[in-house]
């Protein structure tokens, strides 16, 4: 919403400067977005008088003018056909920047066809004040030579632009801005009361409202014998200053009232009307609106129609047919109230934006339906002449807002602001509320403040006007009252007996650090992916597709965090930075239900060789396993006890991928190489190793308490024995290791695989796995017999799963 300082000062008597007004607005909740003074752009220009204008000796179309300026008499060569002696003009001195031409004049006089010229006389287009470029501006002779052009034209008037929050449609009228500012003490609210105009004949147009929900009240009157020419200079200047184009006196009057009082009106040419004018719902008719476009009026839209046709969309836009023109002599002025929700829907359905729609959809003042009509009548009679009919009203003005029962103690309770009753009453009354005091107060709400419905709203008004910047800040007191039994719930911290972070949050923190320690960098990527990509990773269900995606690449909730990591890695490679190694801890989506989202940690390494003097290296599926294991360990998972299985996702390489699980129903991580066909479909070149971890599946630590217990160390030396077993090639090493570990759980403390061999000495289709078994005696030193017995058990246990001791 834009308005000028001079406009505000018509409603607010104040000596405040622009910056004081801006400050007061900001602190009262009217958030100023910009202040612009057109005079700043025009500061170089001044009023000058043409003393003489003679034909240029060497050019038929040029004139040599002697011009009296504030800098003395100047000779200016001018090409304007209208330049003449005695003319009052806009003078640009040497060096001035001409906004409409986007260049600066030379700093030194310049010769034009041999005649020296010192400055310029400007057209309105050159000063961005109009489209006229046929000649220079022919200004009012009453302007004194030397005056600043901006002052002479009334343009030294700052334009303030501010954000109107949706709860305050009344701020769309300058009058109500002034009222709020006067309440803050910036000045006195001086808007005069609107004087009703008595009609001199009955209203010849019959009006009705058939849709009391959509248009509860419809008022109007006829003014006949008017002349609709251009509006006067002051009105045009005012509208132009806030970016509105003057059209004609009648239209300009409605625009003025729209911005002055937030009261939209519409005027019809009476000669175009036939029969009764009524507000009703649409019937599927089409009509041409003032934006020259055809619209179909649905049954959800409120239209204004006569017996013959739809004249306009109520509260949104009028029609071309019945609009006023320069020839209009008799007009019907409409002042109605249209339902905000319906107006909003109509605006959305038609795509129309208009000042009227903007106001009606937010809610206009129900108490100013007739006031607006009277104000318009007065202005029309003043500016266009004519004679007004009686006012006629169809329907009923909506009831005044309900009064609020207000406990004045609520103010201090909610804001800590310690204000006297007197101060609070004054503030409310300054804002237009009525206060009847008592144990609780009855506060009547002005019709333009329907946003206020309860005590908290009044507290906001009081706090806002007294200024939140004046409120005493207090640090939060320590929470004392939380109960111990609630300590497992967030928000119920009990004086730090337990951490505020949840187990899962802490797991995530540790896993992320472990992965960064592994050399992966953490990324944060979009939660949505391309539908085709989602499908490649087992997602893409219709229930997870966006109805209004911002682009097809970001159209479906992701089934995995890998997708954007893969794409990012490829982008890096394309830019000449291979070897991306990234991870992300974030949500993935299985269903749209609140429990259909699970936290995951996913990571990937592009298989691109890193050359190094100690030996080139490239990640492989087992690098991804190492990454996953490091994260799981950091989160407290018992990694050594996990089973290895095959991942179920079809996006994994069938032979080079694995799953770490506690059981088939509790999967902690998948890892391995991604399926080359999936990568190809995504446009990913080369191979990529990856992992996905589900931290939520790791059971919380069972142990309560912090004590680690006493450490018992044996003084007895551990004994190492090596075994080499031949197993079929396809046998997982893990299976043999587990078998051996299980041979004597008390004695065997560790089993390490130190060699995997295939080749000479081992039959094709088989491999040799060499194990270092650590035996840790607890009570006494092992005898040869003890060792012999364990070895026998180990060989037997391995034999059960088909492993044969290598001879």
């Amino acid at each position: 919403m834009k308005f000028t300082l001079s406009w505000l000062k018509e409603h607010l008597k104040t000596d405040a400067s622009t910056s004081e007004v801006v400050e007061a607005m900001t602190l009262a909740g009217l958030e100023v977005e910009g202040v612009e003074n057109p005079a700043e752009k025009l500061s170089a220009f001044s009023i000058a008088k043409v003393v003489s204008a003679e034909k240029h000796p060497d050019a038929d179309r040029l004139k040599v003018c002697q011009v009296e300026t504030r800098d003395g008499l100047k000779q200016i060569v001018c090409g304007a056909p209208n330049a003449r002696a005695g003319m009052t003009v806009a003078f640009a001195p040497l060096g001035a920047f001409i906004p409409g031409l986007d260049f600066s004049l030379d700093k030194k006089p310049r010769k034009i066809r041999g005649v020296e010229s010192s400055g310029m006389m400007c057209s309105s287009k050159e000063l961005e004040m109009g489209d006229d470029h046929d000649g220079i501006m022919d200004l009012d002779d009453s302007f004194e030579m030397g005056m600043s052009l901006a002052d002479a034209l009334g343009l030294n008037d700052p334009v303030i632009d501010f954000e109107v929050t949706p709860n305050r449609p009344d701020w769309l009228g300058v009058d109500n801005i002034a009222r709020d500012l006067s309440a803050t003490g910036l000045g006195t609210w001086v808007t005069p009361a609107v004087k009703p105009v008595k009609g001199s004949f009955p209203c010849p147009v019959t009006i009705e409202t058939d849709a009391p929900d959509a248009c509860p009240v419809f008022a109007g009157r006829v003014i006949r014998g008017i002349k609709n020419g251009p509006s006067p200079e002051w009105l045009q200047t005012r509208l132009k200053a806030i970016g509105l184009r003057p059209i004609s006196a009648l239209v300009d009057i409605t625009n003025l009232i729209s911005y002055d009082r937030a009261r939209p009106l519409h005027v019809y040419d009476v000669t175009k009307l036939s029969g009764t004018i009524r507000a009703r719902l649409g019937n599927g008719e089409t009509f041409e609106a003032l934006d020259d476009k055809q619209y179909t009026c649905s049954t959800d839209m409120c239209v204004i129609a006569d017996d013959a046709r739809v004249l306009g969309l109520g509260g949104v836009m009028g029609g071309t047919y019945s609009g006023v023109t320069a020839d209009t002599t008799d007009v019907f002025i409409e002042s109605a109230y249209f339902d905000p929700m319906r107006t909003r829907r109509t605006g959305r359905a038609t795509g129309i934006t208009s000042d009227a729609k903007y106001r009606f959809e937010r809610g206009v003042d129900t108490g100013f339906v007739l006031g607006g009509l009277e104000m318009a009548t007065g202005l029309v009679l003043d500016l266009c002449g004519g004679e007004a009919s009686d006012v006629c009203v169809a329907g009923e003005v909506p009831a005044a807002p309900a009064p609020i029962e207000f406990d004045p103690a609520l103010n201090k309770r909610l804001t800590g602001f310690d204000l006297s009753d007197k101060d609070m009453i004054k503030t409310l009354e300054d804002l237009g509320f009525g206060v009847k005091t008592g144990e609780t107060w009855m506060v009547t709400v002005p019709s333009h403040r329907r946003d206020c419905t309860m005590g908290a709203d009044l507290v906001e008004e009081i706090a806002r006007i007294h200024g939140l910047h004046n409120m005493v800040a207090e640090s939060l007191p320590v929470l004392q009252e939380a109960k111990r039994e609630q300590s497992d719930r967030p928000g119920n911290n009990n004086a730090r007996r337990e951490p505020l972070a949840t187990d899962l949050q802490n797991k995530n923190r540790r896993a992320r650090r472990a992965l960064a320690g592994q050399g992966l960098s953490e990324a944060v990527t979009w939660s949505f992916v391309a539908q085709a990509h989602a499908e490649l990773f087992g997602g893409g269900d219709v229930s997870l597709q966006l109805d209004n995606p911002i682009s097809p690449e970001l159209s479906t909730m992701r089934p995995t965090a890998l997708i954007h990591l893969l794409l990012a890695g490829q982008r890096s490679a394309d830019k000449g930075y291979p070897g991306a190694a990234l991870f992300e801890a974030g949500p993935t989506y299985q269903t749209p239900k609140p429990d259909g989202q699970s936290p995951t940690i996913a990571g990937m390494r592009r298989v691109e060789t890193v050359r190094h003097w100690q030996g080139n290296s490239a990640p492989d599926a087992l690098s991804a396993k190492a990454d996953a294991v490091s994260a799981l360990k950091a989160m407290g998972a018992k990694v050594d006890n996990l089973q290895i299985a095959q991942p179920s996702g079809s996006y994994w390489h069938p032979g080079r991928s694995g799953r770490l699980q506690m059981g088939p129903k509790n999967i902690l991580a998948d890892f391995g190489e991604l399926h080359p066909a999936v990568l190809k479909a995504m446009g990913i070149e080369g191979r990529v190793c990856a992992f996905e971890i589900w931290p939520g599946n790791i059971p919380p630590a069972r142990k309560k308490g912090k004590s680690k217990g006493a450490l018992v160390l044996s003084d007895l030396m551990p004994v190492h024995r090596d075994f080499a077993f031949i197993v079929p090639e396809a046998t997982p090493a893990d299976k043999l290791i587990r078998a051996v570990k299980g041979a004597d759980k008390a004695l065997i403390s560790d089993v390490t695989l130190f060699d995997v061999y295939q080749g000479k000495g081992v039959e094709p289709g088989y491999k040799s796995l060499a194990l270092d078994v650590t035996l840790s005696p607890k009570a006494e030193t092992l005898t040869d017999k003890d060792i012999e017995s364990v070895s026998t058990k180990i060989i037997a246990q391995a034999g059960k799963m088909g492993a044969v001791l290598r001879g």
């Binding site: 602001f417 119920n492 923190r509 966006l546």
Partner: protein, 355 residues
């Protein structure tokens, strides 16, 4: 006696002349070994008279000890020389590069951890909730009645309608978690809610996904002065400098009274410095929880009250750590992550600093 002197001179010379450990040992054996010359002399002691013994015994012992000491001394010298000789060939180019592949943590995650630390000091726990929300939690319960103009301010992402025509939304703010928390537990409540949020907007200063931290305090006494104090304390702690703040009224459907907070800043070259300066920058929205919101969650506004606030994590990260462009945040470019990321060894805390 003269013989002993001769022996001493002879072996001392040989010991000194030995140029390796083997040679030295040969000298030692020749002199002090079982059949060494000194040892043989010692054996003759038995045949000597008592008076002779009295003289020769100590003399021979002394000779033996002196030669043994010379051997030890020479041995130390020769061992040192041998080690030096061996070390001379054991060289490695210390300028060779080593492998050091440590990744970084994302600045948005770092900043959310910093916030958790600062607010934990004020007694806030961290709560979380789903990104896909229903209309009730994202709008209705937060006092956006259907068709409310505030819904226009949120360009919301909707999911495709289900069989009944209902559309889920991607939460436009972290505020739905307020509702979930208030509906599931009794006050007092002090939580912050960090998380992903979504709006249908994409340009230089907006991304369709961004991060917010929401705060919620509900009890029987917390008022707007506490809100102001809480956030002022936070801002200075977060920017790790004195930050001048300003509260001014604003409007949000879910708070009443509502406010926005500005912080002082200045521009020095391309850099934005938060804390002091001649300009104000809007940094967050906040207010007292609207009575309708409390009611919607089953809390009696005559008994309970409190405040809520919400701020953009990405923007705060950019302001604190000097990232010029929001859009790079979610691109996963390794160079950006290396430059703006944080060491995994860093754990934001109030004792040692946030970063």
């Amino acid at each position: 006696m003269a013989d002993l002197e001769t022996l001493k001179t002879k072996y001392a010379g040989e010991i000194a002349a030995a140029d390796n450990l083997g040679g030295l040992d040969a000298v030692r054996v020749a002199a002090l070994g079982k059949k060494g010359e000194v040892s043989l002399q010692m054996r003759t002691l038995g045949q000597m008279s008592a008076d002779e013994k009295k003289v020769m015994g100590p003399a021979l012992n002394s000779l033996k000890n002196e030669l043994a000491a010379l051997v030890e001394a020479r041995k130390t010298v020769l061992e040192g020389a041998a080690l030096n000789a061996a070390l001379a060939s054991e060289t490695l180019d210390m300028s060779l590069p080593v492998r050091a592949d440590t990744g970084t943590l994302h600045p948005v995650m770092q900043v959310m951890e910093e916030m958790a630390v600062i607010f934990a000091d004020q007694g806030f726990a961290v709560a979380e909730g789903p990104d896909i929300e229903d209309d009730f939690h994202n709008f209705t319960a937060l006092n956006f009645p259907p068709g409310h103009p505030a819904r226009d301010m949120h360009d919301t992402f909707f999911l495709k309608p289900d069989a009944d025509g209902n559309k889920m939304v991607l939460r436009t703010h972290t505020s739905p978690v307020q509702i979930r928390t208030m509906m599931s537990q009794k006050p007092p409540i002090r939580i912050i809610i960090p998380g992903r949020t979504y709006r249908c907007d994409s340009d230089q200063t907006h991304t369709p996904m961004f991060h917010q931290v929401e705060g919620l305090v509900i009890d029987k006494t917390t008022h707007m002065g506490h809100l102001k104090g809480c956030l002022m304390d936070f801002m200075s702690a977060f920017f790790e400098t004195d930050v001048e703040t300003r509260f001014r009224p604003h409007h949000f459907p879910f708070t009443e009274p509502s406010a926005e907070m500005d912080v002082r800043y200045e521009r020095v070259g391309d850099e934005i410095r938060i804390g002091q300066g001649d300009k104000w920058m809007e940094i967050l929205g906040c207010g007292m929880v609207h009575p309708n919101v409390l009611k919607n969650c089953g809390l009696d506004p005559d008994e309970y009250q409190g405040f809520a606030f919400g701020m953009g994590v990405d923007r705060l990260a950019m302001l604190k750590y000097g990232m010029p462009d929001l859009r790079d945040m979610f691109a996963g470019d390794g160079r950006w992550l290396e430059h703006y990321g944080f060491s995994p060894l860093l754990q934001a805390n109030l004792a040692t600093g946030l970063s």
